[in-house]
């Protein structure tokens, strides 16, 4: 979903940083911050082949819009966006792009950080690691569950 100042979307296809910068570049802004989360191949000694994402799509979209609205309340946002991919994401490919355009850079940095930090707490999206040895594991940020599932 996209309007004049906010864009939020769950995509099954690859994400384009170029389309985000095109949307955010606006003559009312002086600073544009774009955060891109990509699939990391190595976490300590674990070798990741790809990530796959599960998502409660309608609620995720509502939560993303609520986060953007919060950012608009707190910072002088000219434009902002949150795009998240679902399905399989190979290593080095983007899974999330967050962008904020504000008149001055400080606000863009702060709002962008707020959006990615809150997304990781509130938005109902889950990632599963598929390792090079074929085993799989749902990422558990609390560290309490999810022993690796053998292939």
């Amino acid at each position: 979903m996209k309007n004049q100042s906010l864009w939020w979307e769950i995509c099954e296809e690859s994400l384009s940083v170029e389309s985000v910068s095109k949307y955010l570049f606006d003559s009312r802004a002086g600073g544009v911050d774009i955060f891109v989360g990509i699939t990391r191949e190595w976490t300590h000694d674990k070798h990741t082949k790809m990530l796959s994402y599960d998502c409660y799509v309608p609620m995720a979209l509502k939560e993303m819009k609520a986060l953007l609205d919060d950012a608009v309340e707190r910072w002088p946002v000219v434009k902002a966006c949150i795009l998240h991919r679902t399905g399989l994401v190979p290593s080095a490919h983007p899974s999330v792009i967050i962008g904020v355009a504000t008149p001055h850079r400080k606000d863009a940095f702060e709002a962008c950080r707020f959006l990615i930090d809150q997304l990781k707490i509130r938005v109902p999206i889950w990632k599963k690691e598929t390792y090079a040895d074929g085993s799989e594991e749902w990422v558990d940020p609390t560290g309490k569950h999810s022993p690796p599932l053998q292939p």
Binding site: M59, K120, W126, D140, H145
Partner: protein, 82 residues
Amino acid sequence: MITFKILLFSILKEKVGQDTIELKVASSLTGEQLLDKLSSDYDSIHSFRSVIRLAVNESYVHESIELTNGDEVALITPVSGG
């Protein structure tokens, strides 16, 4: 009779082996009572009980919420987007 649709995602979907549970109960329930019932019916839900957040009709709610007929309830284990 009151009917709820319960949505499961990620690890709960895998462990339970389905993405939806249809539940019919005789009288109204709170979120907490629903979670207690699901925990006793499904071992895998029981093992995640302490970290599950409840969402009703696509919004996070407190477990004290009184559920009403036809509510769509989602069991949200710790999220890991990004």
